[in-house]
C-alpha cells in the first residue's frame, strides 16, 4: 500500500476505530514512515485540542428540572437533598441522586450514620471500599489477575470465581481500552473489578451482587438509582448505581463529566445486553 492508502486508516486508527488486523499492519508501517507518523500525530493533537476546546461545555443546572417539569416528573428536590441519597430502592432517591449528579461531588454529605435500606451496604460504604481498593491497587503496582483486553476471556476467567453472573464487558468504552480484571474481596463478598485505560488514566468498574431483598425490587427497574460521593482520597471519586440486581461502582481520577459519560455508556450497554438476552435479567 502507498501512504495515500494508509491515510484513511491512520484517521480511523487515531479515532480508535481501526480493526485489529488493519491496525497491526498500519502500526508496522508507522514504524518506518515518518510522514504517516507525523500525520497521525497531527490528527491526534487536533482531536485532543478540539475536545479540550469544546468538550467542557455543560448544560445550565436548572435545565433538567425544567425538562422534568414539562414531562410531568415528580418535583426534584433542592441540592440540599443529598442527605437522602442513601442506598436507594425508591424512585425518590433517584431524583435526589440526579440532583447530586449535577452538583459538586464534595456536596454529597453521606452521613456515616445512614443505615442501609433493605439490608444492603450504604452508598458511602461502597464508595469508600472501592475507592480505597482502587488507590491501594494503584500504589501496589501489582499485576491484574487477568491482563487481557478480550472481554470474553476476562469473563471466562471470572466464571467460576464469583457466585453471580457478571454483565457483558466491552473491549472499548469511549476510547478507554479494557486492560484487565481483578477478583476482589470487599464488603463481605467476592466481586469483579475491571479496569479501562486511556492515555494513562484509569477507570475501574467494580461489579458486585446486590442484597437479595434489593434484587427482588431491582428486577423491575433497569436502573434504580445512582449516587456519587467523594471518599477521603482527594482526587479520586466514585459513581455508584444499581442495575439488574447488581451494584456498580465506578472509580477513577478522571473528571466528573468523564465519569458521568462513562457510566452512561455502561448503563446503556448493560441495558442493551439485557434486552437482547432477557434470561440474563436477575
Amino acid at each position: 500500500m502507498t501512504c495515500k492508502v494508509y491515510r484513511s486508516a491512520v484517521e480511523a486508527w487515531v479515532d480508535g476505530q481501526c480493526p485489529a488486523d488493519e491496525a497491526a499492519v498500519l502500526e508496522r508501517h508507522l514504524q518506518n514512515c515518518t510522514a504517516c507518523r507525523n500525520y497521525a500525530d497531527e490528527l491526534d493533537t487536533q482531536r485532543t485540542q478540539v475536545r479540550w476546546a469544546l468538550g467542557g461545555e455543560t448544560a445550565p443546572p436548572d435545565l433538567w428540572p425544567r425538562i422534568a417539569a414539562r414531562l410531568g416528573f415528580p418535583r426534584v428536590g433542592p441540592p440540599s437533598a443529598p442527605r437522602h441519597a442513601r442506598w436507594l430502592g425508591a424512585r425518590q432517591l433517584l431524583a435526589a441522586a440526579a440532583v447530586v449528579a449535577v452538583v459538586a461531588l464534595g456536596a454529597l454529605a453521606l452521613a456515616p450514620s445512614l443505615p442501609p435500606q433493605h439490608g444492603g451496604a450504604p452508598a458511602h460504604t461502597v464508595v469508600d471500599a472501592t475507592v480505597q481498593d482502587f488507590v491501594t491497587f494503584r500504589l501496589s503496582e501489582r499485576a491484574y489477575d487477568i491482563s487481557s483486553g478480550d472481554p470474553d476471556a476476562t469473563l471466562a476467567w471470572f466464571a467460576d470465581r464469583v457466585s453471580f453472573e457478571l454483565p457483558p464487558l466491552e473491549a472499548r468504552v469511549l476510547g478507554y481500552r479494557l486492560v484487565g480484571g481483578r477478583l476482589c474481596w470487599l464488603l463481605d463478598q467476592r466481586l469483579g473489578a475491571f479496569t479501562y485505560e486511556r492515555d494513562g488514566q484509569h477507570i475501574t468498574i467494580y461489579v458486585m451482587q446486590a442484597d437479595a431483598t434489593e434484587t427482588a425490587s431491582a428486577s423491575a427497574d433497569p436502573v434504580l438509582a445512582k449516587t456519587r460521593g467523594r471518599s477521603g482520597q482527594d482526587g479520586y471519586s466514585s459513581l455508584v448505581w444499581r442495575q439488574q440486581g447488581l451494584v456498580f461502582s465506578l472509580v477513577s481520577e478522571v473528571s466528573d463529566e468523564e465519569m458521568t459519560r462513562f457510566s452512561a455508556a455502561l448503563i446503556e450497554a448493560v441495558e442493551q445486553s439485557n434486552a437482547k438476552r432477557p434470561e440474563r435479567r436477575i
Partner: protein, 185 residues
C-alpha cells in the same frame, strides 16, 4: 399517563446525555436560550416516542438523531446565529483541563471554536459527534442517517479545514503529547 417507572427509566437513560446534547445544540444554533429550547424539545419528543416495552439498541444515537433533526430544521428556518455568548465561554473555561498542562496558547480555544463554527453544518456535526462526543463512526452515522463512509469523508474534510487553524498555533508551546502507540525504532 406514563408510569413512574417509565419516568425513572427515561431520566436514567437521558439525563447523563444532557451536557452532550446541550453543547452540541449550542454549537449548532449558537445561542444558549435556543440550545436549551432545543434540548428540551429533544427530551419531550424522545419521551413521547419511547416505547416502554422495548429497549433502544442505542439510546444515545437515537436521542442525538432527534437533536440533529431539530437543529437542521432550526437552521433551515431562521439561519444560524453565529454568536456565542461570553457567559458560555466563561463557563467552559472553568471546566476545561488546565491550560498550562495542555500547554496551549490562550487564544487557541477561541480559535478552535471559531473554526468549528465556521464549518458547514454537516461537517460541524460530524466533528461534534466523533471528536467531541467520541462516538464511533457507526454511531455517528446512525445519528446523521448517512452511511459510515459519508461520516468518514466529512470528517476528513473537516479535519483538513481545522488543521489550517491549528497550524497557526504550531509556533506556540505544544501540549503534552500522548505517546504514539507504536514502538519507534
Amino acid at each position: 399517563m406514563r408510569g413512574v417507572h417509565e419516568k425513572d427509566r427515561f431520566e436514567a437513560l437521558a439525563r447523563p446525555h444532557l451536557d452532550a446534547l446541550y453543547r452540541t445544540a449550542m454549537r449548532m444554533v449558537g445561542h444558549p436560550a435556543a440550545a436549551e429550547d432545543m434540548v428540551q424539545e429533544t427530551c419531550l419528543r424522545a419521551f413521547a416516542a419511547l416505547d416502554p416495552h422495548s429497549h433502544k439498541t442505542n439510546f444515545r444515537a437515537w436521542l442525538f438523531r432527534i437533536l440533529v433533526n431539530l437543529s437542521i430544521d432550526h437552521m433551515r428556518g431562521i439561519g444560524r446565529q453565529a454568536t456565542v455568548s461570553g457567559a458560555l465561554v466563561d463557563n467552559v473555561a472553568t471546566s476545561a483541563p488546565d491550560p498550562e498542562q495542555m500547554a496551549m496558547s490562550s487564544g487557541l480555544r477561541d480559535d478552535i471554536r471559531a473554526a468549528v463554527d465556521a464549518l458547514s453544518a454537516e461537517l460541524r456535526l460530524v466533528v461534534l459527534l466523533v471528536l467531541v462526543e467520541e462516538m464511533s463512526y457507526v454511531e455517528a452515522a446512525e445519528c446523521l442517517d448517512v452511511p459510515v463512509g459519508t461520516v468518514r469523508s466529512r470528517l476528513n474534510r473537516a479535519r483538513s479545514q481545522l488543521q489550517s487553524v491549528l497550524k497557526d498555533h504550531a509556533q506556540g508551546p505544544k501540549r503534552a503529547t500522548r505517546p504514539l502507540k507504536v514502538a519507534l525504532t
